[in-house]
Amino acid sequence: MSDDGPSRNGDDPPAPASDDRWSQYRQRLIRLGQTSVGERILIAVSALLLSLVVGTVIVTAAGLMATCRSPVLSFGSTTLCYDPFYVFNRLFLGALGDPFTGGWSPLNAQFAATLRETTILVFTGLSVALAFRAGIFNIGTQGQLIIGALAAALTVLWAGSLVSGTIALVLFIPLGLLAGAIGGGLYGAIPGALKAYADANEVITTIMLNFVAVRVSLYLVRNHFADPTSQATQTRTLPVEGQFPSILFDPRTDFSLLALLIALLFVGGVYYLLEHTAFGYDLRTAGIQPAAAEYGGVDSARTILTSLTLSGALGGIGGAVFVMMTLGKFQTGIPSYGFDGITVSILAGNNPIGAVFAALLFGVLKSGSNVVAFATNVPPQLVGVLRGLIILFVAMPEFFRIIGRRLARGQRDRQATATAGGGADD
């Protein structure tokens, strides 16, 4: 699960002189199974397609079982309530704001919602990926995001009570991001220290800390920082200087290109850290082969602590962005971006660059699910099922390898004409 160092090129040994075109093709398939980045992209795409196929089956089955007033199809007493194709049409095209209808502009509100989700998912995806590369399963990004969000909100509110005007305009956003990073980082350092120095399994501690973060933030907001004018358990609204300015997009979409840009900067930063710095080298080594890392002079305890702190900081920044871009305040009941970060990272093979695309996909799914909820009767929880299926399929590359081999062999046996490509076409 590692590699894609800066040092790779498509290592193609000279193709074996083969009289059989198909054995070459098969060779390539097998070799593809060994090159990681290419394979990973292929697997991610296949997983997506396959989960859509299974999703179609589920929607159809559910549509047959559900009762409704105006079915899409009916044959005798059997009725089909949901139209799977329309569902996926809404899910994907809807999330982009219907690009194939006239007058489409990329600045539409639905696409903004997609990018808004994407932006935060990039941060949580990076957070999980960074820890994962260090061999640490950080399930606590959610908690780190909550603490980071709270820290950012409180800090900006506090700063807003001191200064305003131009200084605030240049200062507040960096300040909020920093506060988020520190809050999330410190919260990530707890399981980090527990793992590094007390050998406590981070999967468990981070899960528990998620619950704790929810409670603690509820307590703090409710008892100390509540907005007296609101019914909701939330802080006061941040000063405008502390909210991301919307660029090009309508301010009411709660999306800021600036935030997306910052997210992409962080992607670059994490990539650079992992691939081009000695610390990144230590981290990756400790992640895939701790014994070798130790041999190479890596202080594993410190690496664990640092990685989880950094991972927490990324999650915390995600929280800060959520507060400063989306909500404009801290409110209890933060959505599960942290958990979604795990799925983003897994789909991306823990690669920071891949995380951008994975985050975009899940951003589409999240924002598309609202369109589905609005436009169809199909329960939007479908998206949750799809998410699980994608991860399941991503977890079993062997399945695709077997399919790939079968495909190649079958093709060869029949000496058929080249119609490669999976059966998953919808």
Binding site: A66, T67, C68, R69, S70, V72, C81, A109, Q110, A113, R116, R215, L218, R222, S230, Q231, A232, T233, D250, R252, D254, T326, L327, G328, K329, Q331, T332, G333, P335, S336, S367, N370, V371, A373, F374, A375, T376, N377, P380
Partner: protein
């Protein structure tokens, strides 16, 4: 989107067939979009009550409605906007259920000045939004009064009975917050108003959808002497009812007449603090149909407006001593008349 006048597919299951026919030929009198609170339908209280209003409007006013159950706060804005934006079909009214939608609606309403909205449980100051808030504390006051009276006497009905030797009642909240705090405050004040020395145990489960937690909280209260537990905890309350049955004590429902909607528990539900969210939905729809929708109005629905009511349980109501009932109605009148003022903050109750 086709021509489906869909209503989700069935809501509580009772409305699937009978009311479908009227939309087809002449077109509906109005089309309404429902954006529910995050607890989702099937909570047996708040959202279901709002849906009841929509169903009634569909039946009686020949309107059609579509509904969405958002999963998180940031989905509110998106769904509100989709309804507002939609031109095929065009929505005459978008109902936003729950105070958490207020912030999103403030923005959406400004963005779509021609779209009518209504919001429940919060005030949004905009010309195209009708706000409906309730006097939960007032209704809860009556529940507290009744509970205090009953726990101080020997009373048994249905599957429950009070313990003679203790005078104690309980309150189970979902998540701490201002709104639920109003229920608690009114309830506590009502108890104190009736009997100074009745103990009120109160606990928050931390979740509106955790029946097990509700069950455990209520059981512990019954165990420490409570006879009646009132919940304002959405679906968490289901566990409170379970606990009442198990302990052989009583419970009080919230939002709807839960002795009807949770009929399994009608043998322990003394009463319910009904919050007529359905009426709020219905009247707002009605005003749209009748073309007299009043944007910017804040409708406070207290006891006086029948916005909140203490409704006695279907099965047990008849067994509650008339004396208690009489006192409840007297106090109700006093509240309406302003003779009793009910606190809204549990710490001052």
């Amino acid at each position: 989107l086709g021509g489906d006048g869909g209503d989700g597919d069935g809501g509580d299951g009772g409305d699937t067939d009978s009311d479908g026919g009227d939309g087809g030929d002449s077109g509906p009198a109005a089309r309404v979009g429902m954006v529910y609170a995050t607890g989702g339908l099937g909570d047996g209280s708040f959202n279901d009550q709002a849906q009841t209003g929509a169903i009634r409007a569909a039946d009686e006013l020949s309107i059609e409605y579509d509904e969405s159950q958002p999963e998180a706060v940031q989905d509110f804005g998106s769904l509100q906007q989709q309804y507002a934006q939609s031109s095929n079909p065009d929505y005459d009214l978008v109902c936003c259920i729950g105070f958490l939608q207020a912030d999103a609606l403030t923005e959406t309403a400004e963005q779509y000045p021609d779209q009518n909205f209504m919001i429940v449980d919060s005030v949004v100051e905009a010309d195209n939004v009708g706000s409906y808030v309730f006097g939960e504390h007032q209704g809860s006051f009556l529940i507290g009064l009744m509970a205090a009276k009953l726990t101080s006497q020997d009373f048994s009905a249905g599957a429950g009975s009070t313990q003679g030797d203790s005078a104690s009642v309980g309150f189970v909240g979902g998540v701490e917050g201002d709104l639920i705090g109003r229920f608690e405050a009114g309830y506590k004040a009502g108890v104190k108003h009736a009997e100074e020395d009745v103990e009120v145990q109160s606990a928050y489960v931390g979740d509106f959808n955790d029946p097990s937690g509700g069950q455990e909280a209520a059981l512990s209260m019954y165990e420490s002497g409570a006879d009646i537990v009132y919940h304002a905890a959405g679906n968490t309350g289901t566990g409170v009812f379970r606990a009442a049955q198990e302990a052989g004590r009583f419970a009080v429902g919230v939002d709807r007449d839960q002795s009807v909607t949770k009929a399994d528990f009608s043998d322990v539900i003394l009463a319910s603090m009904v919050k007529r969210v359905d009426n709020a939905v219905y009247t707002s729809v009605e005003s749209v149909v009748n073309d007299n929708f009043e944007g910017g109005a804040v409708n406070t629905l207290g006891l006086e407006q029948n916005g909140v009511e203490a409704v006695y349980g279907q099965q047990l109501g008849s067994e509650i001593p008339q004396g208690v009932k009489d006192e409840v109605s007297e106090v109700r009148q006093s509240i309406i008349d302003g003779d009793i003022s009910v606190p809204t903050d549990p710490d001052n109750a």
